[in-house]
């Protein structure tokens, strides 16, 4: 049974079909929520809210082939909604320990992953949402803008700004061995 047929069945109230669809996407969306919110509990709230919206509104989706981007949008918006309800206080927790595939230079990969983690912490949740949706969920920036309900120009500038901040966070470390960040890089 292909995804389109599963979606159509779920639109007619088939819970099993929806369970299959949800199982296919929940791991990645939960990870995305954790990356954005950096809090397991908040991430769970956001994913639950996103999936509940998906289930309730699924009959209104006209194109079953758009189910995946539609679901991503719902969970992304839930992340932002959870943040707004939560307020602006900083949230920081450790992510799930790395359990990835073996690589030839594992030490280097782990170091880069830790640097990336460090850099992501320097971003606001809204900035992290742009980075995560774009690089992790593979959404084009126009889709990111629509999912986050922000103008495309804001999404582009937020994306640019986020990368600049990450660059500063990584390259401006005292122990960074490469050339320092030059003035004006954030402009």
């Amino acid at each position: 049974m292909d995804q389109r047929e599963l979606v159509e069945r779920a639109q007619r109230g088939d819970r099993d079909a929806f369970a299959v669809l949800a199982g296919a996407f929940v791991a990645r969306l939960d990870a995305a929520a954790r990356l954005i919110l950096r809090d397991h509990e908040l991430a769970r709230d956001a994913v639950q809210e996103g999936f509940l919206r998906a289930w309730r509104n699924l009959p209104t989706l006209r194109d079953p082939d758009r189910f995946e981007p539609w679901l991503r949008s719902l969970v992304s918006r839930s992340c932002i909604d959870v943040l707004r309800r939560r307020g602006r206080r900083p949230i920081e927790v450790e992510l799930t320990p790395f359990d990835g595939p073996a690589v030839s230079d594992m030490a280097s990969v782990i170091a880069d992953r830790e640097l990336l983690d460090l850099a992501l912490r320097r971003l606001t949740p809204e900035q992290r949402a742009v980075i995560v949706l774009h690089y992790y969920l593979g959404m084009p920036l126009p889709d990111v803008a629509a999912a986050l309900r922000i103008p495309i120009g804001t999404a582009k500038s937020r994306h640019h700004r986020s990368l600049a901040l990450m660059r500063v966070a990584i390259d401006a470390r005292p122990e960074a061995s490469t050339s320092p960040v030059v003035g004006g890089q954030l402009a």
Binding site: A32, R44, L52, N57, L95, P151
Partner: protein, 419 residues
Amino acid sequence: MTAFDRIERHLPELIDELAAAAIPDYFDTMLQDTTKARQRPAWSALERWLPMGVVARPLPILPVPWRLLAIVALVGLVAAATAVYVGTRPRIPAPFGPARNGVLIIGTADGDIVSVDPSTGTTTALIGGPTIDAGPYFSNDGQRFIFDRGASASGPTRSYVANADGSDVHELLPAGRALNWFEWSPSSDRALIIETIAGKKRLSIVDVANGRSTRLGLELDVQAAAWRPIHDEIIVTAAAGDARTFWVVNADGSGVPRQIPVSPYAINEPTLSPDGTTLAYATWEPTALPGRIRVVDIDAGGDHAITTVDGDGAIWQSPQFSPDGTHLLVYRFIATSGSDPGGAQLAIMDAADGSAITMGPVSENPQPAAIFSPDGTKIVADYPALHATWRFDADGQNGHEAPFSAIGGAGATWQRVAR
């Protein structure tokens, strides 16, 4: 290549590893809870009836920026409220320098104070009644004036303050206190006053609203005082025998007064340039030419005479700076016998080189009283001995008798208005 360059090249893969996606432990519970909810009927969604692109693609219309709109609306409201508030408040002129001409008010022979149109002589009563009210003197902000009130023309007077339109008349000081001198502060909410207490003249600062005064503890025989423009200082005139000395005093009276180095033959009170840098004054020297006008830089010194010696033995006195500080309005006395001054004529004098042009009629004592208009283009002069008031252009030209007459030689004051 920097560390970030290396990371950026593999950003999707690295984020993927960092995310460590896995089926969350709450999945089953979430699924059970979620699917208990009722689904919306398909027909209930407006999107269902719209073209596919509206649903499947990002909205072509930007979301309404409610927060921005709220901020813009709020800023607009604040701006409008500010504009209304500012618009309803009187515009206040700078305390010194040129200003726009407001109303000219005078004391009349009937003992009233009226505003007068300088061109037509049309008057409007401001302060009336059976009392003798005279000597109005506008504050620097043009919002109120002080005047003297007495029961009769020759009896003692007391000082009163009124709004520019003649309203809110109240006595300046508590009963029993009489003034020798009064000068408005730059902000016009206070004034310098000199009272005679136990036979000595004392300088105080008085709050015009409530009459509370603070005496400045100066060991000087104070004769006059004025706020130094653009400086937080007071220029005090003190008696030194028949002559006068000039002192710079902190506005609150603190510190040690600094004497301004001037001629030992200085007389009367000086005049201050609108920028507060220069003091001009008259001398009475025991020579064949007793009366001269001298100027001095208040901070740098350099006291020197600017009047030139002419052939008729003229005596220059009572300088008064123009609003722009370029000229002095002076009296030119003409000695009739020896050093005894006789008739006087007004003159407009260049404050830099002392060159002067006389204007108007020659008058015997009492000497004429004259003022500049706030914009510096006109001069109004009252000649008590002639029972006439004259108007001139500020260059001394186009003089003619005005269609009104002030009284007492100190009867006219011109309101300063914001430009």
